[in-house]
């Protein structure tokens, strides 16, 4: 593998793969560096029914199709790498992976995505998979006729709470605010379900159990009173956080640590673009990530072509 590329893309989710497809099809020498699973958050979705033109597909299949498409146009992909050093501010960008391989490029697209937010209470990491879950479709059937809690107040939390009533005898939704962020039809459906109870303005402050989850400590945000509730399982759906820690101090980030871009996906550093769930925006969907990736690719392509034209003119002079 050669070391210099026209464009390096950091991240292999919907935005990164789309950028890879567009750039490699435009004959740009393109490398995707991905430190997680190809497909990113996309593979967390079992069935996608609102991707235009495709009636029904799993996130895994859609991700695999995008990957195949990118590879077919000549895009190179390095998976499960760890970025150990990078220089994005110089004219020629450089990224070192696994402490030994360095790749350079004229432009970089950051499509680092996001990851599930954890509650952050004591016991959470230790009891993951032993009563604490982040995937209802994966683990719901372990909780047949058991009492569970769903944490969160967005679309995912309420939709999954309803779906979990197929298995659980009782579902309690614990939410930190006095109202839900979810769309009204998700809220209405949850409220109409006799198996679902609500504990509002409250947070889980501790997960209790030795070998498995046995109880949680819940604190009311107004009164600060705490109670211990015995429970069989907790499902957590409290949104995502952007994977931008490594860009802090290099790129302009907003107060949510999302990368600030303009409508052409241009960051504050020339030649560095960003796309997908890691950028500052309101709606995070596969379709919006695909749109971001497309725009970032076209912008990066124009940037690289301008460099090539300038270099060629300088050589002629």
């Amino acid at each position: 593998m050669e070391q210099h590329f026209d464009v390096i893309i950091i991240g292999g989710g919907a935005a990164g793969l789309t950028a890879g497809i567009y750039l490699s099809r435009a004959k740009m020498k393109t490398l995707i560096l991905n430190d997680g699973t190809i497909g990113g958050q996309m593979i967390l979705t079992h069935q996608i029914a609102n991707y235009p033109g495709i009636e029904n597909i799993s996130g895994y299949e859609l991700a695999n199709n995008m990957k195949k498409q990118a590879l077919s146009f000549g895009c190179q992909i390095k998976n499960s790498i760890k970025i150990t050093d990078m220089n994005l501010t110089d004219y020629i960008k450089s990224i070192t992976v696994n402490g030994k391989e360095t790749y350079t490029a004229n432009a970089v697209i950051i499509a680092a995505g996001g990851r599930s937010r954890m509650v952050g209470a004591p016991g959470e990491e230790r009891l993951k998979g032993k009563g604490i879950s982040y995937c209802a479709t994966c683990d719901g059937d372990f909780f047949q006729d058991k009492e569970i809690i769903v944490v969160g107040g967005g679309n995912s939390a309420l939709e999954e709470a309803v779906s979990l009533t197929k298995y659980a005898s009782k579902v309690t939704i614990v939410h930190q605010f006095d109202h839900f962020q979810a769309l009204s039809h998700y809220v209405d459906e949850a409220k109409a379900n006799s198996k679902i109870d609500f504990i509002m303005e409250s947070k889980i402050t501790e997960f209790i159990g030795e070998e498995k989850l046995e109880a949680v400590k819940i604190q009311n945000q107004k009164s600060s009173e705490t109670e211990i509730q015995k429970i069989d399982g907790v499902f957590i759906f409290i949104g995502y956080i952007p994977n931008t820690e490594r860009f802090s101090g290099i790129l302009e980030l907003n107060k949510f640590n999302e990368i600030v871009v303009d409508n052409l996906m241009v960051t504050n550093i020339p030649g560095v673009f960003a796309a997908g769930d890691c950028v500052s925006k309101r709606y995070r969907q596969i379709t919006t990530a695909v749109a971001d990736g497309t725009i970032a690719a076209l912008s990066a392509s124009e940037y690289v072509n301008n460099i090539k034209i300038t270099n060629s003119e300088l050589a002629t002079d």
């Binding site: 979705t45 995937c135 372990f142």
Partner: protein
């Protein structure tokens, strides 16, 4: 059958042969879901890095997967995949739900490959 590039264990007999004929074995028992797929992909990558370990998957819902589902080590597991690490045919470590490459590598090194 799981759609992975790992050897598939389709029966108790195959499972038994694998763990008894190899010193170090890692088996991921799951479905094609979001918590399982990343683990399969990590295992596919680790196959070349750790030739002394045999990697395989087993579909969680086939009857013969009881050989894993009924292990005492997984009685408190409430999240797939169930990942079992065997040394000379004995379970030395088991994990529930998704794990990172770093977490898996640490287990391989500390439980299977040390000594």
């Amino acid at each position: 059958m799981l759609r992975t590039n790992l050897p598939h264990l389709l029966s108790e007999k195959e499972h038994s042969e694998l763990i008894n004929n190899n010193e170090n074995v890692m088996v991921c028992c799951g479905r094609m879901g979001p918590m399982c797929i990343p683990v399969y992909e990590i295992m596919e990558e680790l196959q070349s890095e750790y030739p002394n370990v045999k990697f395989a998957d087993m579909e969680f819902d086939i009857p013969d997967a009881r050989v894993i589902r009924n292990l005492p080590e997984v009685r408190n597991f409430y999240g797939i995949p169930f990942v079992i690490y065997y040394k000379n045919g004995k379970v030395v470590k088991a994990t529930s739900s998704i794990q990172t490459k770093e977490q898996i590598t640490e287990i391989l090194v500390n439980y299977l490959l040390k000594n």
